[in-house]
């Protein structure tokens, strides 16, 4: 592609050097900001679809597959509407065990409150870090 810079190391004038594989390996390969209640995306990268599996239960499917299923997923969700109470947790769905929640092209997620009950928050954001296939 045009505009390609090939470099193994980035060096700052005073702060030192960093290998570019920190950037390649450490950046999010998939991310999405979406509404759990309406399955509506605000923005995303490297998704092909979101599947609404039921109340507060979603599967994200990727376009460019991860290299293996051991990537890291991080997520957050919004508060109870208007209360300021942080009461939403995005977690890996456990249907069939955690091993079923992650494949190289899908992640199944649930959103719960702190008591563990399924809740559909209007704001959720999820990112995956790992190696691409």
């Amino acid at each position: 592609m045009a505009g390609t810079i090939v470099a193994d190391t980035l060096t700052h004038s005073t702060a030192g050097s960093i290998a570019t594989n920190y950037v390649v390996d450490g950046s999010a390969k998939v991310w999405v900001n979406f509404d759990f209640a309406s399955t509506t995306e605000r923005d995303a990268l490297n998704l092909s679809s979101i599947t609404d599996n039921g109340t507060a239960d979603m599967t994200l499917t990727f376009s460019s597959a991860m290299g293996n299923a051991n990537y890291a997923t991080t997520g957050m969700s919004g508060e109870v509407s208007g209360t300021g109470v942080p009461d939403g947790v995005v977690q890996a769905a456990r249907n069939g065990g955690y091993s079923g929640a992650f494949t190289t092209t899908t992640t199944r997620l649930r959103c719960t409150n702190l008591a563990g009950s399924a809740v559909e928050r209007g704001f959720a954001a999820v990112a995956m870090m790992g190696d691409l296939a």
């Binding site: 209640a37 995303a44 092909s48 679809s49 609404d52 290299g67 249907n95 190289t104 092209t105 296939a133």
Partner: protein
């Protein structure tokens, strides 16, 4: 906008190019399917950036590439993908219509046992519909099923 010649370019790089240069396309189509009798009906929503790639052409690999990778992943001794190059080196798909893109997405993101035998049981396991045909609220969401009262016209439509 003309798609650059992407054959051999990593798929992730193509997707980044598309995100920077193409407007997302929010499809009105939804795919409703049932893949387990123990679970409610699921609803697949296409990603707008992905749909833009499908309509643009020259970005997405053929769907058989994903099926090959899925076969590899299903092997009991699978550790990591060794044929990921298929995503990047296979000739990209030409521009699709929205309907062709939905068919492609079904074959990519819906379990194969659903779309290969979607109409062999007592009722269809999968239906393509428009967003406004879904219930307007999510009341009793975990009890939603595909109706048994679909007519041949409904299915053909």
């Amino acid at each position: 906008m003309q798609t650059p010649d992407f054959k051999g370019t990593h798929l992730f790089d193509r997707l980044c190019w598309a995100k920077e240069n193409l407007d997302g396309v929010q499809s009105d189509y939804r795919v409703v399917y049932e893949d387990s009798i123990d679970e409610c009906a699921k609803i697949l929503v296409p990603d707008p950036n992905w749909m833009a790639c499908a309509l643009q052409g020259g970005i997405l690999p053929p769907v058989w590439v994903y099926h090959e990778l899925a076969k590899d992943e299903a092997q009991p001794n699978f550790k990591k993908h060794t044929r990921g190059y298929l995503l990047h080196t296979t000739e990209p798909m030409p521009a699709m219509t929205e309907e062709q893109a939905i068919e492609y997405l079904i074959m990519k993101d819906v379990p194969q046992h659903v779309w290969q035998e979607w109409n062999t049981g007592n009722k269809p396991k999968m239906v393509i519909c428009r967003k406004e045909q879904l219930p307007s609220t999510r009341e009793w969401r975990n009890a939603w099923k595909i109706t048994e009262d679909l007519t041949a016209t409904d299915i053909a439509a």
